[in-house]
């Protein structure tokens, strides 16, 4: 959930992120005899970590779902290896899921966990560096035997050698307890063991007073065809809960009240970026009254959009899993020619392969949405990690002068609106459009205020239906490249329309008639016209948030919105004025961007690349923008970013 940066409540609350590591001051509400103490917290960061096969993503998803339905604001950060099953018990095989939830508006998945659940020694070793002293660590002691510890280089047990003395460690034999709880089910040891993640989930659900009905219903639905497995999981989940309730090691449980102040009235759900993007495309199809066609080739982290859209054929959605990236966009472009709202989804390496077809779409001037869920590069890079280093590829990665509009969502839920905006631009201006999301937005989630469908934008287009030009001899003809004088868009005449038969292609066309033309002056005109069309796209003005008349502006784009805003809140709470602005449209830039930049002595651009937006800003506006860069595959941490911004301000 994201709200205006300068909200006073927000400032105070985000400032408190600086306290990460210590739970908030205990407030003993019910510490009567025989009852366990309940402390009230305003926010918590939990990280579940285990082996790739331990089901940590599912555990995190369920905890998130419970938390969302409870009404907390939340933000999540799944983090997993590219290998489906890396060798068990090794550091590269560790998969984790971090969840930040609060009784107020929050912006990031949190810098450092207050609670780490470590299912094995590898999970502990891989994550302990992020866990501040004083935090709680729940470890599965069953896995802390000689071999698993040796595998990750623990010569002595960290549970016994004092190295965890600064932490509040809860040693729990999760595996043994799970097997014991399931002994009535007659499962093999191996089968029973697999439910240990649900035991852990049950324990955490008790600790944080999460509702449990949702998870039980979910498990019964998920294993509907294997009722025994469903009941085993429910039993493990309840056993975990009861373990927390009865054992003395867990003396305290915590309440985080619903974030009622953070949410305007409405109906909410939790949503990930890729799901929001999928829904945005379906909504755009409905609003445009055009069938949706997705041509795609599986690639991490974009495949979930293909999966999701393929489930909604009853919306008239056609999904085509092509033989390669090139065919994916090729089929989409063919469908666009035929009058579909056409989309292709991919990640950076796929964009490289699609470049030539994007150039063709620029030349054909057909609507096409190209979705790039960015990941670490170059080449195969880091498939499951996040980065925003495809901006210049989207901007310039084609032969010839081939301008393409670019939109970028800022949060997971914002992917819905970004998809509608990309569709608006593509359909209005008859052009391919880049939508640049990234791995962090794609897999991260947050509460989303479900929009009223009758408030969605009208995206209907007028297809060409008759001649649009008169020849000197009076003949009425159809000219496929005769443009709308305001938008410079060319008419979209779909096959099946009588009298408008025409041929288009990648060869340069005569202005107006669209016939092949090698005329030098015409080429110059067409190149400039295509550029002018993109430059003239209407995009909203940039909003600058500057309550304190600051002298420094921090400018971001894409998924850095959360961390930048959290960092800005910290600085302001500490009395440091700073202005903030975030770009949705990267091509063309908002018309007031140059003027906005000019009002500040300093402009700082944090990016998860080596300064790509900064390069564009410097080139276009001659502004001496300062880059702050991080390319470690992870989102910025708010505290580190606040420090970096402060240093840049003081420099």
């Amino acid at each position: 959930m994201t709200s205006q940066v300068s909200s006073p409540a927000g400032q105070a609350d985000e400032a408190s992120e600086a306290l990460v590591g210590g739970q908030r001051a205990p407030r003993s509400d019910h510490a009567g005899a025989g009852e366990k103490e309940i402390r009230r917290l305003d926010r918590v960061i939990i990280r579940f970590a285990g082996d790739s096969g331990d089901g940590m993503q599912l555990t995190g998803d369920r905890f998130t779902s419970e938390t969302a339905s409870f009404g907390n604001d939340l933000s999540t950060l799944p983090n997993f290896p590219a290998e489906i099953r890396a060798p068990a018990g090794t550091l590269p095989g560790v998969s984790s899921f971090q969840l930040h939830f609060a009784d107020h508006d929050i912006l990031t998945p949190g810098d450092a966990p207050n609670v780490l659940v470590a299912m094995n020694p590898a999970a502990l070793k891989a994550n302990i560096g992020d866990v501040p002293r004083g935090a709680e660590i729940i470890v599965n002691t069953d896995e802390f035997t000689k071999r698993p510890m040796a595998k990750v280089g623990y010569e002595t047990s960290p549970l016994e050698d004092g190295s965890l003395d600064g932490y509040n460690v809860h040693p729990v034999p999760l595996t043994t307890l799970t097997i014991e709880a399931l002994k009535e089910f007659g499962l093999s040891r191996k089968e029973a063991e697999r439910s240990k993640n649900m035991f852990a989930l049950g324990l955490l659900s008790w600790m944080y007073h999460r509702p449990t009905e949702g998870t039980e219903a979910f498990l019964r639905a998920k294993f509907a065809k294997k009722p025994q497995i469903a009941e085993a999981n429910v039993t493990a989940f309840r056993a975990g809960w009861n373990f927390g309730e009865t054992t003395e090691d867990f003396a305290v449980s915590y309440e985080v009240a619903p974030a009622s102040q953070a949410f305007p009235a409405g109906t909410y759900r939790n949503i990930s970026g890729n799901l929001a993007l999928s829904y945005g495309l379906i909504a755009a199809s409905r609003q445009a009254d055009l069938p949706l066609y997705l041509g795609s080739y599986p690639i991490t982290p974009a495949s979930d959009i293909l999966h999701e859209l393929s489930r909604h054929k009853n919306f008239g959605v056609r999904t085509f899993q092509a033989e390669d990236e090139i065919a994916g966009i090729g089929a989409a472009l063919g469908a666009a020619f035929g009058g579909s709202l056409a989309v292709t989804t991919t990640s950076g390496p796929g964009v490289a392969l699609k470049s030539e077809t994007i150039g063709l779409a620029v030349s054909l001037e057909l609507p096409l949405i190209v979705i790039d869920i960015q990941r670490g590069g170059p080449s195969t890079g880091l498939p499951t990690k996040t980065e925003q280093a495809d901006l210049l590829q989207a901007m310039y990665g084609r032969n010839g002068e081939a301008p393409v509009p670019i939109v970028a969502p800022r949060t997971p839920a914002d992917c819905f609106d970004a998809a509608l905006d990309a569709a608006r631009i593509a359909l209005t201006y008859r052009t391919p459009v880049f939508l640049l999301s990234d791995g962090y937005l794609a897999n991260g989630s947050e509460p989303w205020k479900i929009p009223e469908t009758d408030e969605l934008p009208d995206l209907r287009v007028r297809l060409a239906s008759g001649p649009n030009h008169q020849l000197a001899d009076g003949t009425a003809v159809f000219w496929p490249y005769k443009r709308d004088p305001h938008t410079l868009a060319r008419p979209w005449a779909v096959p099946g329309t009588p009298g408008l038969e025409h041929r288009i292609g990648g060869i340069e066309k005569q202005d107006g008639s669209g016939n092949i033309s090698y005329d030098p002056a015409n080429h110059d005109l067409m190149v400039r016209t295509r550029q002018a069309k993109i430059d003239g796209i209407e995009v909203p003005d940039l909003q600058v948030d500057d309550p304190d008349q600051a002298r420094t502006l921090v400018l971001g784009w894409g998924s850095t919105y959360g961390p930048i805003t959290a960092a800005v809140r910290r600085l302001r709470a500490a009395g440091q004025p700073i202005a903030q602005a975030h770009l949705r449209n990267l091509n063309p830039f908002p018309k007031n961007l140059g003027e906005a930049l000019g009002r500040y002595d300093k402009v700082i651009v944090p990016e998860m690349n080596l300064g790509q937006l900064a390069t564009l800003i410097r080139a276009k506006y001659l502004v001496d923008a300062h880059s702050h860069n991080q390319v470690n595959g992870m989102p910025f941490k708010a505290e580190q970013l606040a420090t970096a911004l402060k240093e840049a301000i003081d420099a």
């Binding site: 779902s65 969302a68 339905s69 009404g71 949702g214 305007p264 009235a265 409405g266 109906t267 909410y268 759900r269 939790n270 829904y279 379906i282 909504a283 409905r286 066609y293 041509g295 909604h312 054929k313 009853n314 919306f315 008239g316 959605v317 056609r318 085509f320 092509a322 033989e323 090139i326 065919a327 090729g330 089929a331 989409a332 472009l333 063919g334 469908a335 020619f337 035929g338 009058g339 579909s340 030539e356 150039g359 063709l360 054909l364 479900i450 469908t453 096959p495 099946g496 329309t497 009588p498 009298g499 408008l500 038969e501 025409h502 041929r503 292609g505 990648g506 060869i507 016939n515 092949i516």
Partner: protein, 352 residues
């Protein structure tokens, strides 16, 4: 002739009688004088009225190369796309618009070199496309490099000491790629070319038509053995479904199956062996004999080249299956309700 392609009923019919000139665009044809492409263009333009489809529902999609200029000369909808990608683009168009008759025009470089992947996948999916592959065994538009169908040892600008790679046989390739319709014809034989176009148009699903086409500038006479009146009778095997496979000056040669190897071979027909001559069965579910026939030709001399429809079998069409799934989804779940989708099953309400 019987209209066997039920899918053609999805394409609106022309309201008035059409003629060849209805299909000629106003663009000046710019192939080299004497190019075999002219003959193919004329054959297609004169065949189209026979189909009787509304011309606004016909689309020609091409890639890059000399043949790929074809769409500019057809007064239908058309797209001259990029090198090798026409089958992919046409797949998106055909699978989203079943009311269109979609034709792909490509060449040996476009379809078999840069676009080989898209070609084989279109064939295996059986998308409702008619693919005309102009094979001149050379790169014409880039001025004369060897192509993936050039004979081994070909001397060209890029291979002054002779090309090193073995050529593709497009018909063999298509059969191996699960094609449901594969035919071969020759640019200069208007009647045969038209009959093959007719059979292709009648086929529901992907039809691959290889057209031997003369490039008189960079590979002149490449198919002369099949065109020269005297030599052709011994070189060309005309396949007709249901007929014994015989050819030669006096129809004295025939194709038999060698019982020892199972392979096909050519024999001189005698009274004794006349009954052993294979009868061509284009509709055979097994592609084995069609493949064996495609291998009869000598890749260097082109002797014993079968032309006509080698394979023509029914298999579910991709576009139909895709449309059926959409219908089934609506039957099972009802027409999509956006508000219900967005609300999901797991939401909560914050009161104002």
């Amino acid at each position: 002739m019987p209209d066997t392609n039920q899918l053609l009923h999805l394409v609106p019919k022309a309201e008035a009688k059409q003629s060849m000139k209805d299909f000629k665009s106003d663009q000046e044809v710019r192939w080299c004088p004497g190019c075999g492409d002219y003959a193919v263009l004329a054959a297609v333009q004169s065949f189209m009225p026979e189909l009787g489809l509304a011309k606004e529902n016909i689309v020609f999609v091409s890639g890059i190369g000399c043949s790929s200029r074809f769409p500019y000369y057809m007064n239908t909808y058309g797209m001259h796309s990029i090198h090798g990608r026409a089958p992919a683009i046409a797949t998106g168009l055909a699978s989203s618009r079943r009311d269109l008759s979609v034709w792909v025009v490509t060449g040996d470089g476009d379809a078999l070199s840069i676009g080989g992947n898209h070609l084989i996948h279109a064939l295996r999916r059986n998308v409702n496309l008619k693919i005309l592959l102009f094979n001149n065994r050379i790169y014409g538009l880039t001025k004369g490099q060897y192509s993936p169908t050039s004979e081994i040892g070909k001397i060209t600008k890029s291979t002054p000491m002779g090309s090193l790679d073995a050529p593709f046989n497009p018909v063999s390739l298509a059969i191996g790629a699960e094609a449901t319709f594969v035919a071969r014809t020759i640019d200069s034989d208007r009647k045969h070319l038209t009959s093959v176009l007719r059979a292709a148009a009648d086929h529901p699903g992907t039809a691959l038509v290889e057209i031997y086409q003369n490039c008189n500038i960079f590979n002149d006479g490449a198919f002369e053995a099949l065109k020269d009146k005297d030599r052709a009778q011994d070189a060309v095997i005309r396949l007709e479904h249901g007929q014994p496979i015989r050819f030669g000056a006096d129809n004295d040669k025939g194709v038999v199956r060698d019982p020892a190897t199972g392979d096909l071979r050519v024999v001189t027909v005698t009274e004794e062996n006349a009954s052993e001559i294979l009868v061509h069965d284009a509709h055979s579910p097994s592609p084995t004999t069609a493949f064996a026939l495609s291998r009869l030709a000598d890749p260097d001399t082109l002797h014993q080249t079968p032309i006509g429809v080698l394979r023509d079998v029914d298999r579910p069409v991709y576009d139909t299956l895709m449309a059926d799934q959409l219908d089934t989804a609506v039957e099972q779940k009802g027409k999509g309700d956006l508000a219900a989708l967005l609300a999901g099953n797991d939401n909560w309400t914050v009161a104002g």
